[in-house]
């Protein structure tokens, strides 16, 4: 367990997002990040679980320090992914930030019940989006001490 600020390697962030536009926007937003972030991207739930469990092509995938999860995903829904992560003994302690278009109370409540660490509605305009990503950066990657496992 080490402090992120004292960590020499880049922060591994897994973005589970099916929209390339959002992926690009996220990348754009993280360009100005204070810490060095390595953004891993998967586009559906099945792929996400394969990445996390280092199966198939992801056998060498890094263990993420933070997961950014969209709820509406093809193949395997974001809610199921969240559930699987939180029920897994090895993955359960990775912080998951829900990043979604849905502002529905039901979704929010359900996500927190599934032990999402943070729920963020994607702002509809660019500035908002940029701010959100940057605040994730500063809050989760700079302020909060994250549990880390030696790779």
């Amino acid at each position: 367990m080490t402090d992120s600020s004292g960590n020499a390697g880049p922060l591994e962030v897994l973005l589970i997002e099916d929209s390339p536009g959002d992926v690009r926007l996220t990348r754009e937003a993280l360009k100005d990040a204070k810490v060095h972030i390595h953004l891993n991207v998967v586009s559906d739930g099945v792929e996400a679980m394969a990445f996390l469990e280092r199966q198939g092509e992801f056998s060498n995938a890094p263990r993420p320090d933070l997961i950014l999860l969209d709820l509406n995903l093809p193949k395997k829904d974001g809610r199921e992914v969240l559930k699987d992560i939180k029920e897994s003994a090895t993955l359960g302690n990775i912080p998951v930030v829900i990043l979604t278009m849905s502002a529905s109370e039901v979704d929010i409540l359900k996500s927190y019940r599934l032990h999402a660490n943070c729920y963020i509605t994607k702002p509809v305009n660019l500035d908002g989006f940029l701010k959100v990503v940057q605040s994730i950066d500063s809050f989760w990657l700079s302020v909060v001490k994250l549990p880390r496992e030696r790779r």
């Binding site: 536009g21 926007l25 754009e28 278009m101 502002a103 509809v124 305009n125 660019l126 989006f129």
Partner: protein, 702 residues
């Protein structure tokens, strides 16, 4: 004495009369006898008077006799007069005492003595004339004349004694008769008086006894009369033994049409049709009643106006205590009224829009109407007397049957007033849904059940159709809801891309391209922004008021405070003053009320006039148990012709450069309020401010 009063009175007076007759006749007889006695007494007195005269005349004869003997004179005038007087008296007495033989004999003796006297006198006269005074004296000295006169006087004295005796006897006799008459009169009067008094006392006592009895019977009779007089349904009247009407009640007046004053005194035969009168039926009825005590018949009767009605009547003979017929009473009823009632009932049955079937407790049909024939496809005759089971196979007959736990009446009572849905069976074999309503009908045969049977096929179809339509509506509504949500949500995703990248473009490339490009990009960004705002609002609108689960009692004041907190930036920026009265607690979802307040107060501040915005919130309860909130402002006001339009989604009254917004706020308010069963409206005039009202029903709301 059980004799009637009149007899008693007759008897008493007869007795008095008899006594008076006896007394009168006795008195009259005594009076006659008394008068007779008096006459005899009178007669005796007369006789005595004549005897006295005679007695006094005799000495005169003697004196004359002596004188002549002395003087020798011829028989004197006085002597002759005396003799004539004596003779006259003697004659009178002879007439008077003609009924008394003793006196007559004495009078004869006297007459003989007088004859001797006269002859002696003549002898004396001759002697004196022949022999001189001496011869005469010698003759006188023989005393012959004196003896004769003495004998005469003795005879007269005897007669006087006799008459005096008679007088005494006759006076006593008259006195006795007088006393007898007096006694008879006194006795008769006293007896008459006694009898009359007794009779008067008896009569008086009888009258007072009868009076009491009569008063008592009058009282009960009066009560009875009042009851009878009031009877409406029956004609009740009384007749004398000849059939003349004596009394008349209200029912009789109503049924027969005569007023009491018109008919009392008339013969009751006028109630009969002419042909019956000709056959002597009215008298026959009275005869039967008199003979048997009563006569009950049904026959035609005639009203005053000549119309006939079928009457049921009972004539009863009335007799007094001694069994004498004193009259009759008649109780009659207009049977056509009952028939009319039946006809009315039948009319009612036929006029009913539903099939009406009357069933007895055995489950047999006793009456039905045309609708029932039509509904079940039978002819009336095919159903009368048949089991109700034939046309309503289940659920009807069972409901009428008594069992261990309930009587038939109770079984029926349980069904009254509730519609029972059953199935009807037509003659052609088809079944159709029915609803029956049962009601009891009491009659002489027991309880009948009237069943109103309604063919509810149409209603059932309509119900089905309605349910289907409601289902469809619900589904389409849900789909619409879903569509609005999904559309806005899914539209938002690509839009966000467009917006984000045009914005990124603007961010990264403004000033690096030419001015036209900058302008184009600016319009694209603006369009995106507005599009996003609309979609956001649409989402909000589609969600508004959908969640009614969290309704509870909340403080509307707290809701307003929260709305004001949400609006604090706007309020602060505009310098608005928002005030409120005390607001009630109401039952609803607090976030929804916050939303409504926020929109209304937000609008009030937003559409402000140049003055400082002043907003005042009040709440009152109205008669319809609604809580009416009012949000009053001093803003720009609204032209009344837009009152409806402002509540429509995305309808705006102002240009975008005047006031911002999509026109969603009032539409959301309207949706929320109406979802709660309330109403929302506005009262306003341009430049004079607006007041927005919303009324929320209190109590149970669906």
């Amino acid at each position: 004495m059980r004799l009637p009063l009149v007899r008693k009175i007759q008897f008493g007076f007869s007795a008095v009369l008899a006594v008076l007759l006896v007394v009168g006749s006795v008195a009259y007889r005594d009076l006659l006898a008394s008068a007779h006695s008096e006459r005899w007494v009178q007669h005796t007195h007369e006789v005595l008077e004549h005897l006295a005269t005679l007695q006094s005349a005799i000495p005169n004869i003697e004196t004359g006799y002596r004188g002549r003997a002395l003087t020798g004179a011829e028989t004197s005038q006085s002597s002759r007069a005396s003799l004539a007087l004596v003779e006259h008296e003697e004659m009178t007495l002879r007439a008077l005492t003609v009924d008394n033989p003793g006196q007559q004999r004495r009078l004869a003796t006297l007459a003989a003595l007088m004859e001797q006297t006269i002859r002696l006198d003549e002898t004396l006269v001759r002697l004196r004339q022949a022999g001189g005074p001496k011869a005469a004296a010698e003759l006188i000295q023989t005393g012959q004349g004196e003896r004769i006169l003495q004998q005469s006087r003795a005879v007269v004295s005897d007669m006087q004694v006799e008459e005096r005796g008679l007088l005494l006897q006759r006076g006593a006799d008259a006195e006795r008769r007088r006393r007898q008459t007096q006694a008879a009169l006194i006795f008769g009067s006293v007896a008459g008086l006694l009898i009359a008094t007794l009779a008067a006392w008896r009569v008086q006592r009888e009258f007072s006894r009868r009076g009491r009895a009569e008063r008592a019977s009058l009282e009960s009779e009066e009560r009875f009369r009042v009851v009878l007089a009031g009877v409406q349904d029956y004609a009740i009247f009384t007749l004398d033994p000849h059939g003349t009407v004596i009394s008349w009640n209200t029912g009789a007046e109503r049924i027969k049409g005569y007023k009491a004053a018109e008919i009392i005194g008339q013969n009751f035969s006028c109630f009969y049709p002419q042909e019956d009168i000709d056959q002597g039926i009215p008298q026959e009825a009275l005869r039967t009643a008199a003979a048997n005590g009563k006569s009950a018949t049904e026959c035609w009767r005639v009203r005053k106006d000549g119309s006939r009605f079928w009457a049921s009547l009972l004539i009863t003979a009335a007799r007094d205590a001694s069994g004498n017929l004193v009259g009759f009473s008649e109780i009659s009823r207009d049977m056509s009224e009952r028939q009319e009632t039946e006809a009315k009932y039948r009319g009612l049955l036929e006029a009913a829009p539903d099939a009406m079937i009357v069933v007895n407790q055995a489950g047999k049909i006793v009456l039905l109407n045309l609708q029932a024939e039509k509904q079940f496809g039978y002819h009336r005759d095919e159903l009368l007397g048949q089991e109700i089971r034939n046309i309503i196979p289940e659920g009807f007959a069972e409901r009428l049957i008594a069992d261990g736990t309930r009587t038939a009446a109770e079984a029926l009572a349980q069904q009254i007033g509730t519609g029972i849905e059953l199935s009807g069976h037509r003659k052609d074999g088809g079944d159709f849904p029915i609803e029956i309503m049962l009601s009891p009908l009491k009659n002489a045969e027991g309880i009948l059940v009237t069943a109103a049977i309604r063919d509810i096929s149409v209603r059932k179809d309509a119900e089905k159709h309605l349910l289907k339509t409601v289902g469809e509506l619900k589904r389409s509504n849900e789909e619409l809801q879903q569509f609005a949500y999904v559309a806005s949500h899914d539209l938002q995703e690509p839009l966000r891309m467009v917006a984000s990248y045009t914005q990124l473009l603007a961010k990264r490339y403004t000033g690096r391209l030419d001015p036209d490009a900058d302008e184009y990009i600016a319009y694209a960004v603006d369009g995106c922004n507005r599009m996003q705002a609309l979609i956001q609002d649409l989402l909000t609108y589609s969600r508004a008021g959908t969640d009614t689960r969290s309704r509870r009692e909340i403080s509307s004041e707290d809701a307003l405070r929260e709305a004001l907190t949400n609006l604090r930036a706007t309020i602060k920026e505009s310098g608005a003053v928002v005030t409120h009265d005390s607001l009630p607690a109401i039952t609803m979802d607090d976030t929804q009320l916050v939303q409504v307040f926020q929109n209304l107060v937000g609008n009030a501040v937003k559409y402000r006039s140049p003055e400082i915005p002043r907003v005042h919130v009040t709440a009152t309860k109205n008669a319809g148990n609604e809580c009416v909130f009012a949000v009053r402002d001093n803003g720009v006001g609204i032209d009344p012709r837009y009152f409806e339009r402002i509540f429509i989604l995305f309808q705006r009254l102002h240009g975008r450069n005047e006031f911002t917004g999509t026109g969603i706020g009032l539409a959301i308010c309207k949706k929320i309020v109406e979802r709660l069963g309330g109403r929302i409206w506005v009262e306003s005039q341009p430049a004079k401010g607006s007041t927005f009202y919303f009324a929320l029903p209190q109590g149970e709301v669906p």
